[in-house]
């Protein structure tokens, strides 16, 4: 019984066309093959986009733009890297454009879309440890707030590290930067965030002392 199940799984994996096959079919005019590629990667690309732009509507737009751009430039894909890496690079570039556009717009509107409202705490639900939940929300808010002081490049690198849990080498590869440059940007970003989080740590210690 067990061996049958294993056989079936193996069979499904073996029959699934590889990325390069689907790319070749797409270039040959098979639109359905590109649909399979979209289906395969759209969740991952959306996740990367959302990690950077932190907005569902924008992440959706970035994901769509990424696939459209990938389709129109598919002939230029030389297969030196994985298709997923190539798509991720496009998504990161589109997300960076989106961040820059937002920053440019905020220069004129005077607002900062990324700054969470003061005293922003999500409603407490009936989960087992509400205090821990509140702390987590406050930490999240502190990190989000701290990010509003970062430059676009610092924000991009920090978000890939924080939300996507990418290693420094991976980030360097995706952004086409040297590992040392990424490290320097991240170091500056962390220092700004540490400053912001110091207030959160102090506030938390004060509240825990009061509780004691």
């Amino acid at each position: 019984m067990g061996s049958v199940a294993i056989f079936r799984v193996t069979q499904i994996n073996a029959t699934a066309p590889s990325d390069s096959e689907l790319i070749a079919r797409t270039l040959g005019g098979d639109g359905g093959a590109f649909g399979l590629l979209v289906d395969r990667f759209q969740r991952k690309i959306y996740r990367v986009a959302y990690a950077i732009v932190r907005n569902e509507v924008e992440a959706d737009t970035v994901t769509q733009d990424t696939f459209i751009q990938a389709y129109t430039h598919l002939a230029k894909f030389q297969g030196r890297s994985e298709f997923e890496t190539w798509l991720t690079r496009i998504a990161i570039n589109r997300s960076r454009d989106s961040l820059r556009r937002r920053r440019f717009v905020s220069l004129f509107t005077g607002g900062d879309d990324e700054r969470p409202p003061e005293g922003w705490i999500e409603p407490v639900d009936d989960r087992p440890d509400p205090e821990r939940e509140i702390m987590a929300h406050q930490l999240r808010a502190a990190i989000e707030k701290a990010q509003s002081t970062l430059s676009t490049q610092q924000k991009l690198i920090f978000r890939l590290r924080h939300y996507e849990d990418r290693s420094l080498e991976e980030i360097a590869g995706l952004l086409g930067l040297r590992s040392g440059t990424v490290r320097a940007h991240l170091f500056r970003a962390i220092h700004k965030i540490r400053k912001e989080l110091a207030e959160w740590v102090t506030a938390r210690e004060d509240s825990s002392n009061e509780t004691l």
């Binding site: 979209v38 969740r43 959306y46 959302y50 696939f67 129109t72 989080l197």
Partner: protein, 156 residues
């Protein structure tokens, strides 16, 4: 023994220092710091979790939007290709037509060099050059002017 602060642990979490760094060596050897580091890392991972769990309808809609845009791009590309082919064919026809017309007209354009019969060479004896240019036949109708000019020269 010096314990590390939460801020320093935070930096360690993000910066991924090598195993040989002082802070990592300490965290590996100190149970207290190790627990705090684990808790902090867990907290940061929880906070970083992206709410990307979406209903299937969301992904279907997104895929449809992408495929529609892709179809439009393909149609546009085919239209551009067709236009380019027609333009190239028209250009080629123009060039070929021009060449054919030129070839048919070419013989008429090439005019034969006119053969001019050599003029009989007049002997130098026939040329009568008057000694005084004012007395030439060409100026005989302007007699009065010639006289006046001659008079002027003689005065000088």
């Amino acid at each position: 023994m010096k314990h590390f602060s939460e801020a320093e642990l935070l930096e360690t979490y993000y910066m991924q220092p090598s195993e040989a760094s002082a802070i990592i060596e300490h965290v590996n050897g100190c149970n207290d710091c190790q627990d705090r580091y684990r808790r902090l890392a867990q907290k940061l991972r929880d906070v970083a979790a992206c709410p990307t769990e979406k209903p299937d309808t969301f992904w279907t809609r997104q895929r449809l939007m992408i495929m529609r845009a892709v179809d439009n791009a393909r149609a546009q590309s085919q239209r551009n290709m067709r236009t380019a082919r027609v333009a190239a064919a028209a250009f080629l026809a123009f060039v070929l037509g021009g060449a054919v017309v030129y070839k048919s007209v070419e013989p008429q354009l090439k005019t034969q060099p006119a053969i001019v019969a050599p003029a009989p060479v007049a002997s130098t004896d026939d040329l009568k050059v008057p000694a005084d240019p004012w007395q030439s036949d060409e100026l005989k109708d302007f007699g009065s002017v010639v006289q006046w000019e001659t008079w002027g020269e003689s005065k000088l």
